[in-house]
Amino acid sequence: MTILPITLTDYLILSGALFSIGVFGVLTRKNAIAVLMGVELMLNAANINLVAFSKFTGPGVDGQVFALFSIVIAAAEVAVALAIVISIYRVTRTIDLDKEDTLKG
């Protein structure tokens, strides 16, 4: 058995799979924090793409820089999201997304 060299496509498929798992997570999890973890998976998938393209195509490190920024922003986003989750938890004593449905129609 020979091991085929790893190409760009392999990285892309890895990222696609990770992204889809993230999609599954954000759509099906009931717990708000679990949903946020799903988002992190999706963002990581995109970052893999960026770094892989940066490696295999074109000059420069643009993709890596983008990934770097994306990591930083994800951190900020998570901080804000958790702040919101905690503040809603104080009001309703739950972070169950199924209970957050008073606004509808």
Binding site: L27, V35, L97, D101, T102, L103, K104
Partner: protein, 668 residues
């Protein structure tokens, strides 16, 4: 002469608008004389400006008698143009003078007539608004702006007909006018939108200016033009009270009499005729539409006259006569004799305004009584009213020498000779002339001559009207007497000044065959004969042998009570002529009672606010929108709303599904 007017045409409609604004907003705080001064002053100033425009135009060479005053370009995007521009050419200047002139006279008359009314300032505000809308309609340079005026007169007529809305019938009449006009306007909208798209697609010019339409109309296929022409004419049947949409006009008598005069003479009902004349270049390419117009006009002229025979309300007689005379105008424009139609429009404006104002004077004197069976012998007490009324009657009946003679004759001659007319149209016109002679004579004799049938209490109070009312009568009487001489037929060996003046406007219109003088004399003879036979018959029945109708009636039906002399003729006619012959009228009545009244009732469920504007808004806009949108959309809203579950993950699922659908849609 006066070239400055080329930049100031916009003042003509603006002045009455300003007058209306002042009177409606602040009028209740102003003294009455200030209100009337503003109202009469603004419309008179418009009249003066129109006359100046006329003088300016006349001083130009005949082929260059036209200018466009673009006051403001509202939308100008590429080929799409909408703005406030005013077209002054012989046609619009004549119409402008008729509208502003007759309106001025009626405004003046109203000062006396409405003197004691509670809502004096509101009345004058509406009256000014009415004049503004009509002047806008007449002077506009595009169908779109014309449509604004078109809707404006509809709205004002609604406001004014229902002016005394405390009485439920008045409010209903206003509503009816509104609804019927909406039906017509729908046709109008469809017509001009069709034209707009047809031209826009072919030329890339999205404009509704008359100039642009005229230059592009040749590219549009005839079938489209015919449809457009007929749809526009549907709008005209609403505004100008033609079969089958005439039903609102007789009911519109509910408004104050000067308003009736305004509607019947100067504004509103002439709009349809003017519109057809203005679009002459389009109709020239749609001969089938012209034939439809001529036939509808002829039928209307005849049938309305027969209905007029048996009316006992002085204003209703005049109302049906207006419908009938409008039929004449449509015969004129329908057979392609546009200037003849406009000519009749003008003379009719004079004598019909006079007739209404005269009847107003009578009603004023009779303390509100409108039934001619309860009048008689008024000539001694109301000498000026009687004299002017008789002059107007002679004019409308087409007695030679008076204004109506020349214009009616012009139309009938053209109806006979034009390729779009023919014997049928002509014959209906002549028969209508006989009937006109009859019912007008009947009206005059029963109202002013013979013995008084008034109740004594009313008789004591009969008096001639104040000067603000009689002066307008005299002015209009003079015009009714001599106004026709500017359009004398060429058979008299003179040039037709009126037709010559309007000629360039209709230059691209319909080619009519050359006239033959002997034929013209012969046809003229026939129509004179027709008028006099009607007059003679009526005179015999109602003045000479007043017993004869009674005897006739007795012979056919002894159950008639011999209440008033001459009334048997009415019974006779209603039984054997009107009732018997005219199944069509029943059909129209059916239309009236079922469709129109149904529509009125349907939209007018709540009686309380029937007449004030908010109520109308509620019903027409809101309920109308509900019905138009349909319950389907509303329930679709309910269904889609249920998808909005409040769960954010469901929203995400919908977004992903939606994107997948979009993707498959564009990839397939």
């Amino acid at each position: 002469m006066y070239p400055f007017i080329e930049q100031y045409v916009w003042l003509v409609p603006l002045l009455p608008l300003l007058g209306a604004a002042v009177n409606l907003l602040a009028g209740s705080r102003l003294p009455r004389h200030a209100v009337s001064t503003i109202a009469v002053g603004s419309i008179s100033a418009s009249f003066v400006l129109t006359v100046i425009a006329y003088l300016h135009i006349v001083s130009l060479p005949a082929d260059h008698r036209q200018f466009i005053d673009t006051a403001y370009t509202w939308i100008g995007l590429g080929g799409f143009k909408v703005g406030l521009s005013f077209l002054v050419d012989p046609l619009s200047v004549v119409m402008g003078m008729i509208v502003s002139g007759v309106s001025s006279v009626i405004h003046l008359y109203s000062v006396g007539y409405m003197h004691d009314d509670r809502r004096y300032s509101r009345y004058f505000g509406f009256l000014n608004l009415f004049a503004f809308a009509m002047l806008l309609l007449v002077l506009s340079d595009s169908i779109l702006l014309m449509f604004v005026g078109w809707e404006g007169v509809g709205l004002c007529s609604y406001l004014l007909i229902g002016f005394w809305f405390e009485k439920i019938e008045n409010a209903r009449a206003g509503m009816k006018a509104f609804v019927v006009n909406r039906i017509g306007d729908f046709g109008f909208i469809v017509g001009f939108l069709l034209l707009f798209t047809a031209i826009g697609i072919r030329t890339g010019t999205w404009s509704l200016d008359f100039g642009a339409i005229q230059s592009a109309v040749g590219l549009v296929p005839t079938a489209v033009l015919t449809t457009v022409g007929i749809m526009l004419f549907v709008g005209a049947t609403g505004k100008s009270a033609q079969i089958p949409l005439y039903v609102w006009l007789p009911d519109a008598m509910a408004g104050p009499t000067p308003v009736s005069a305004l509607i019947h003479a100067a504004t509103m009902v002439t709009a349809g005729v003017y519109m057809v004349a203005r679009m002459n270049f389009l109709y020239a390419l749609a001969p089938d539409a012209l034939r439809v117009i001529a036939i509808v006009g002829a039928l209307t002229a005849f049938f309305a006259a027969t209905i007029g025979l048996v009316q006992n309300d002085i204003k209703r007689v005049l109302a049906y006569s207006t419908v009938s005379q409008l039929g004449y105008m449509f015969i004129g424009v329908g057979v392609g004799a546009f200037s003849a139609g406009i000519f009749h429009l003008m003379t009719h404006a004079f004598f019909k305004a006079l007739l209404f104002l005269g009847s107003g004077s009578v009603i004023h004197a009779m303390s509100g009584e409108q039934d001619i069976r309860k009048m008689g012998g008024l000539s001694k007490k109301l000498p000026i009213t009687t004299a002017t009324f008789v002059i107007a009657s002679l004019a409308i009946m087409g007695v030679p020498g008076f204004a109506g003679f020349f214009s009616k004759d012009d139309i009938l001659y053209n109806a006979y000779t034009s390729p779009y007319g023919g014997t049928f149209v002509w014959l209906l016109g002549v028969l209508a002339a006989v009937l006109t002679g009859f019912y007008m004579t009947r009206l005059v004799v029963l109202t002013f001559y013979g013995s008084s049938r008034m109740d004594p209490h009313t008789a004591e109070h009969v008096h001639e009207s104040p000067k603000t009312m009689t002066i307008p009568l005299i002015v209009l009487a003079i015009l009714s007497a001599i106004g026709g001489y500017i359009g004398m037929p060429e058979a008299f060996g003179v040039r037709n000044v009126f037709a010559g003046f309007l000629g360039p406007v209709f230059a691209s219109g319909v080619r009519l065959p050359e006239g033959s003088v002997p034929l013209e004399w012969a046809l003229m003879g026939v129509s004179v004969l027709a008028a006099f036979s009607g007059i003679g018959l009526a005179y015999y029945f109602y003045a000479v042998d007043t017993e004869l109708p009674a005897a006739l009636a007795e012979k056919y039906n002894t159950a008639f009570r011999p209440a008033y002399t001459g009334m048997y003729v009415d019974e006779f006619y209603s039984k054997y002529i009107v009732g018997g012959v005219m199944g069509l009228k029943d059909l129209l009545a059916l239309f009236d009672s079922h469709i129109i009244d149904g529509a009125v009732n349907g939209t007018a469920r709540l009686g309380r606010r029937l007449s004030d504007f908010e109520g109308a808004f509620d019903r027409i806009v809101v309920d109308g929108a509900v019905n138009a949108v349909g319950n389907g959309i509303v329930s679709a809203g309910g269904v889609l709303r249920r998808l909005q579950t409040g769960l954010v993950q469901n929203y995400l699922i919908f977004a992903i599904i939606g994107m997948a659908i979009l993707l498959s849609f564009v990839l397939l």
